[in-house]
């Protein structure tokens, strides 16, 4: 079951009476239909790519490439399939297979900013920079698995289907990913106390 974010996008896009016509118009290459169909996913796709690649410009390139692949493949898209999952699968593949073009995951000037845990548990929040730092300890594939599970709320079978592997492998990858992130979070909290 996808999370609320996915449901919101789906509700936004899919008005049953229009959806089929819209898909047909989009598949025939009509620009306004393509925009109407695909633009609501832009923010979610960008957030995924941004977290996967750790760089804003790389993420924009990846979203553009995702859209391009989707537009080309749209004539083959099954009308009863889930557009949200389909686009996300394309985006994950783009991010996994794309070249890293812009160096370090965390821009240097940002990484040197103070990233602290505050004293009281209520105030303990993580900034964008800290999230980038945490994600940078993971491989791209681990990031994909982690983001699809914890941010997008996909189930293990859904992730396994998207990445074309077994449930067992995804369970193992989630375990490895969480261990790595727990280690990072503990080290980070220690550093925060020292600082």
């Amino acid at each position: 079951m996808k999370n609320l974010r996915a449901m919101r996008i789906t509700l936004q896009v899919e008005e049953p009476e229009e959806h089929t016509t819209l898909l047909e118009r989009a598949a025939s290459g009509e620009a306004s239909a393509l925009e109407r169909l695909l633009s609501p996913y832009k923010f979610a796709l960008y957030a995924l790519c941004r977290n996967m690649l750790g760089h804003a410009e790389d993420a924009e390139d990846a979203v553009q490439e995702t859209y391009l692949r989707a537009i080309r493949a749209l004539p083959k898209f099954r009308q009863d399939a889930d557009l949200y999952s389909w686009l996300f699968r394309i985006a994950v593949n783009v991010c996994l297979n794309g070249k890293r073009t812009r160096g370090k995951t965390v821009p240097l000037e940002m990484a040197t900013e103070r990233a602290t845990f505050h004293a009281s548990p209520e105030a303990e929040t993580l900034t964008r920079v800290e999230i980038d730092q945490a994600l940078s300890v993971l491989s791209r594939r681990q990031r994909a698995v982690f983001l699809l599970r914890e941010r997008e709320g996909w189930s293990v079978p859904e992730i396994a289907a998207a990445l074309r592997c077994t449930h067992r492998r995804i369970n193992n990858e989630l375990y490895q990913t969480r261990r790595a992130l727990q280690a990072w979070a503990l080290a980070h909290a220690e550093k925060g106390k020292e600082g």
Partner: protein
Amino acid sequence: MKCHRAVWLASYGRDHTLSEQERAALEAHLGSCPACRQRQAAYSRLVNALSAQQEPEPAADLLQKAIRQAQETVVESSPANGRTAQRVRLALALVVLVVLVGTRLPQAFGQSVLQKMEAAVGQARTMHVVSWEFLMTEEEARNHTWHDGKTPVRTETWVTHDAISGRDDLMGPYLWNATGYLHYDPTERKMKYLQFAGREVSLKDTIERSFNPVAEMKSAVTPGTYLSLHNFADAVWQGRKVHKLQIASGPDKPKAGEEVPTTQEPGRTPPPGAAPRMRRTFWIDRETNLPVHAEYEKEIQGRWVVQTRSDYDYNLQTPARLFDPEAIRKDAEAHAARRH
């Protein structure tokens, strides 16, 4: 239970249902092992932060670029020579001819003018806007007395990629840069310097939207309302040849080809009265694709009333004193002294 087993079970338990036995064992371990508790808490904090993280705003034209790229690829992949290519060339020539004789498809052409304008303002270094605001009330509109004997409020704004400097007849000068927002507070009758620590993003957004008045409309439209594009015949504005486009917002669904995508949720029914009809007409220089003039109108009591008229200039040299906090402070104090 050993720690590594607890970590595995805790991970597995986030994605699947644990058996009663496993759950009890995990809870017992977490109850007695502070290190594992800490690990789980740290991980939960990270996940919560990730979920709460606001989705950043990507470039506005990613999808449009992809669509253009897809269309170009289709043209490129068609045979480059032979009869088909000749037919393609003939068809293109015919389209150009149709455009030149003035019987072009108006909305499709309007969309391309709009795209060119958005691309052009995206390249601009500075922007200067002088606006005349006609502050209209419902009562004035009802009594048909709008604009009668009124002096509109003049506002002037300079925008660079780092700061916004402006002034209007009422509030006086202000400066918004990475450090904060310097302005005169009429209630307290003194200069104030608001700090926006960590909120530079909103300055960045404001600057982007200032440069691009269409993007501003796209993001400011009431959820559930539509933006539609109307294309008028080309005109001449103060000696310049211009395209004239109008973007209207309101609850009525636009016809095919007239819709302008917004960043708001489409297709939702807005609450009654939440979506008055508004429209903004742009006069766009045909050489530079930059807007030179705009008028903003609102429907009040069934009549269209001009609210603001603006003249735009892009890429001018900015006056340094307008971006100097000390000069702004002096200007604002002088303005305040005149007013009180």
